[in-house]
């Protein structure tokens, strides 16, 4: 984890919420639902029915019939937390996941930070929730052993029952829960040994998959509460324009339109105006919105154009910037080196574009209490944002988190919730706000671009003596309204560049800050998705300059044992690196280690007769240490690869006169099934007890491995993303 002090307060808050700064074990006895779930707010429609039974800890509730409810604190956006988080407790409790009810928490204090992001859900909860489960198990065992008057260590658990083999007795959890709930929870319960695991480490079926294969899974957009109205919001395509006036004459003529009002989208420290059209149906709201005539004051923001901005970044690249990391004497080593090379790399802004567009349902039963239904990555963030924005008591904010129709970092930002909350409060009725795909694509926050300037000096043997990676980029936080502190490096923007395991004696990595007038945000694998492309392509350039095999060159820079060295060694073997490829094919390698974890890929491409390049195959080695569900690891990595190919080869987001030029999937295309390569995922799980992230590490190495493969196949060195595969061969 990057713990550098220059991490800004915002970023630190995020990390805290992700549970990566040390989570406390929450094992308490609570038999009252009110205590577990905060004060009652509204029972209007609770898609997550309150659990029935007694709580052994806030996470584990058992009723008299033995029915077990496990609380999942990490929102599920497709990364599998609906299974992987309860599994941690179920394993210790001897439960089968298909027999338990899994409910999603809503930001209640008892569950700590409830945020999915940073590939942290399993990492942040692995030991904590196993202890919660083990502690509950020991309470149940104690209750049984006291009832039978036998030593507790002679009792075992399986199938939601405590067993005593010697006397051939067994008793269900339902019959024990009352006694157990009166016991003091042990603070250091004995954990199961991994050799005895029945769930963890096994490819288990996820319990929500049937619902997700039959239209039954409830997403935020599916929530309907009695008396609910619908809203669509017109916002300036130039993000940040002030609303001057609007004419709703034609809007009000649309059948079903009820109300037109000013809206406010609060994105971190930025506030953006809008005009909300509230109607009986979503279709009426949308038609009403299209009939609006709105006057905006763009305040000069319409002067923003991508080509000019890129030119500006090139100018900034001439500055020395600030040192991110240095070792040895870079300047001298570079001057003395017999071989020198330099290169400049560019990447674009891209959208998150989860398949479920932003949406939110809000109901205010009173002026000081509110209930929210949302596809969101952060129940805790919603709660905190609502408390701050509306001056509410935390207990008066009830949050219902549904399945997220994709997140990728977009749903860490609760702007769509706060905007809906403002509208519903003004309307005085429950309101569902749905963003169009165009809204979703054009309004950010976007993944920022990074530009990279490299210099390197190689010795007579071709090995590097001096290396410099200078990042020129906007700062995510500065674009979200927390001004960049002059004289500091924004560590989020240099993520990973100084953490690679290459042993280079003289290094001088730097950062140059650039202002950017449009909001940017955390995108799956954050800045590593762009920096890895630049970094690992330039390493390839060094290898070629040295006349060495790019994979062996990397390994030659790793004399010491490291996870990265293990990954590359494994990759060399499983990719059959030495096996010749068919004519017209090429293969490339890349690895990247960053806050979320580590993976390495080999990509194979082929030249096609029509002058295009086809991505044939991606072979991935992901380094994990401990694995909860290997099938989910594979699925996440397959998905990460698809997302990374989209980001590397599709147009991305560009601006003209302040507005994004892409609006829907026709102009902002995503990878489709015919473009999906064959994917092979190899899990390295020999790193011991260390737990690494799963959701993100599969992304960063894709673009550089692909560009390196294209270089081998075509001799063309791609230094700018996106690359157009149709014109490369």
């Amino acid at each position: 984890m990057n713990t550098n002090e220059t991490l800004s307060a915002n970023r630190r808050d995020f990390l805290k919420l992700l549970g990566l700064t040390g989570a406390a074990l929450v094992v308490g006895i609570s038999s009252a639902n009110a205590e577990v779930f905060g004060g009652p707010v509204s029972g209007l429609l609770n898609i997550n029915a309150d659990p029935v039974g007694m709580a052994l800890t806030p996470y584990i509730i058992i009723d008299k019939t033995g029915k077990v409810t496990l609380m999942n604190s990490q929102p599920d956006m497709g990364q599998g937390t609906h299974q992987s988080i309860p599994a941690l407790m179920a394993e210790e409790l001897g439960l089968s996941l298909d027999k338990v009810t899994i409910l999603q928490t809503g930001g209640e204090k008892a569950f700590g930070g409830q945020v999915s992001g940073g590939s942290s859900s399993v990492r942040g909860n692995y030991m904590t929730l196993r202890k919660v489960g083990a502690s509950a198990r020991e309470m149940l065992v104690t209750a049984a052993s006291q009832q039978w008057n036998v030593p507790a260590n002679e009792c075992t658990v399986a199938d939601a029952r405590v067993h005593h083999k010697a006397s051939n007795r067994s008793i269900g959890y339902g019959d024990l829960v009352e006694t157990a709930s009166k016991l003091t929870a042990p603070t250091s319960p004995k954990l199961k040994e991994s050799k005895d695991f029945t769930i963890l480490g096994k490819a288990t079926m996820r319990p929500e998959v049937p619902a997700k294969s039959s239209g039954k899974a409830v997403f935020g957009i599916d929530v309907k509460v009695p008396g609910m109205l619908y809203a669509s919001v017109e916002r300036s395509p130039v993000i940040g324009s002030k609303l001057v006036s609007f004419d709703d004459t034609k809007t009000k003529q649309v059948k079903g339109v009820r109300q037109v009002l000013k809206a406010s989208r609060v994105l971190e420290k930025n506030r953006y105006d809008g005009v909300a059209v509230v109607a009986d149906t979503y279709w009426a709201a949308l038609k009403g919105r299209r009939a609006l005539a709105v006057t905006w004051d763009h305040q000069g923001l319409d002067k923003f154009n991508t080509p000019a901005y890129e030119q500006h970044l090139h100018e900034l690249a001439k500055q020395d910037g600030l040192v991110d990391h240095s070792a040895g004497d870079f300047a001298k080593a570079l001057a003395d080196a017999p071989t020198k090379l330099e290169a400049f790399y560019e990447t674009p802004m891209v959208s998150h574009s989860p398949m479920e567009p932003m949406n939110c349902v809000v109901h205010w039963p009173t002026d000081t209490s509110v209930e929210i239904w949302a596809s969101s990555q952060g129940a805790t963030i919603i709660k905190e944002n609502m408390v701050a924005e509306f001056k509410l008591k935390a207990d008066d904010v009830k949050v219902n988190i549904t399945f997220n129709g994709g997140g990728f970092g977009r749903r860490l930002f609760q702007d769509f919730v706060l905007e809906a909350a403002h509208i519903a409060k003004a309307v005085g009725k429950p309101v569902k706000v749905i963003w169009t795909r165009e809204d979703d694509t054009q309004l950010g926050p976007f993944r920022p671009m990074t530009f990279s300037a490299f210099r390197a000096g190689l010795g007579a043997d071709g090995m590097p003596l001096a290396f410099q990676h200078k990042v020129i980029s906007p700062s995510i936080e500065a674009t979200l309204g927390s001004p960049h502190k002059t004289g500091t490096v924004d560590k989020t923007m240099t993520e990973g560049i100084s953490e690679q395991k290459y042993e280079i004696p003289n290094v001088d990595n730097r950062y140059v800050f650039a202002e950017l007038p449009v909001p940017t945000g955390y995108w799956r694998a954050v800045t590593s998705t762009t920096l890895a492309f630049a970094h690992e392509c330039f390493i390839d350039e060094m290898a070629h300059k040295a006349g060495k095999d790019p994979l062996d060159y990397r390994l030659a820079m790793m004399t010491k044992a490291s996870d990265a060295k293990r990954v590359l060694t494994k990759l060399r073997e499983v990719s059959k690196w030495d096996k010749p490829l068919p004519a017209g094919w090429g293969r490339g390698v890349a690895q990247y280690e960053f806050f979320a974890g580590l993976a390495g890929h080999v990509v194979e491409v082929s030249k096609q007769k029509d002058g295009s390049v086809k991505v044939e195959k991606v072979i991935c080695v992901i380094d994990l240490g401990t694995v909860v569900n290997p099938d989910m690891v594979r699925a996440q990595t397959e998905g990460a690869i698809a997302m990374a190919i989209t980001a590397a080869t599709k147009p991305g987001i560009t601006f003209e006169n302040g507005a994004a030029q892409q609006a829907n999937f026709d102009t902002n295309p995503m990878l489709r099934i015919n473009e999906m390569p064959v994917v092979e995922v190899h899990i390295l799980a020999e790193g011991g007890p260390v737990i690494k992230g799963v959701g993100e590490p599969g992304l960063p190495p894709v673009a550089p491995a692909l560009a390196n493969a294209i270089f081998m196949a075509t001799g063309k060195r791609v230094r700018r993303l996106p690359m157009d595969l149709s014109k490369l061969a």
Binding site: G405, G639, I673
Partner: protein
């Protein structure tokens, strides 16, 4: 407002809606079947795919008045317990990640297998290209379609009374 009569999942319905309302919103907001999803609104993503008299259509781009009197099948009409062969294959391959696109993927796959019981990879590419999955479940979509195809073809060859698999 207009009164539109149509059949959804074998149930006759009379809807009191604006005639230009896309079928998608009529299904979701008026009928209340939310398995069919909104992804783009312009026939680009396939999340809203339903069957119109057996053929796949993008319900976001069909005005409800245009399908008056016709038969619509949504994901909810495919089976009661997620046990259509395609759904079973989806579960066996653990295809869904976030799951949001999957109703559309499944409806497209079912339609493909109806016209092409033994699809090749390129048949699958052609038929499924209109369905975006931002989570990138394509590899598994492909495998699941092959599995469902094999199961449906075996089931079809079984004598009628023994045909448990593949029955709806």
């Amino acid at each position: 407002m207009a009164t539109i009569k149509l059949t959804i999942n074998n149930q006759p319905r009379t809807l009191d809606v604006e005639p230009d309302m896309p079928l998608l919103w009529a299904i979701r907001d008026v009928v209340g079947l939310t398995g069919t999803k909104f992804g783009c609104g312009i026939a680009q993503c396939g999340a809203c795919t339903v069957h119109l008299d057996g053929s796949p259509v993008r319900s976001c781009s069909v005005p409800v008045s245009a399908v008056s009197g016709q038969k619509i099948t949504t994901i909810e009409g495919l089976s009661k317990n997620a046990d259509h062969p395609v759904q079973k294959a989806w579960i066996a391959h653990q295809v869904p990640q976030c799951g949001y696109c999957q109703s559309g993927q499944i409806m497209s796959a079912v339609a493909l297998l109806k016209t092409t019981p033994k699809p090749t990879d390129s048949d699958i590419d052609n038929a499924m290209q209109g369905n975006i999955c931002r989570c990138g479940t394509y590899t598994r979509v492909r495998e699941a379609i092959h599995t469902a195809s094999a199961e449906m073809n075996t089931a079809n060859k079984l004598p009628k009374n023994g045909a448990k698999v593949g029955k709806r």
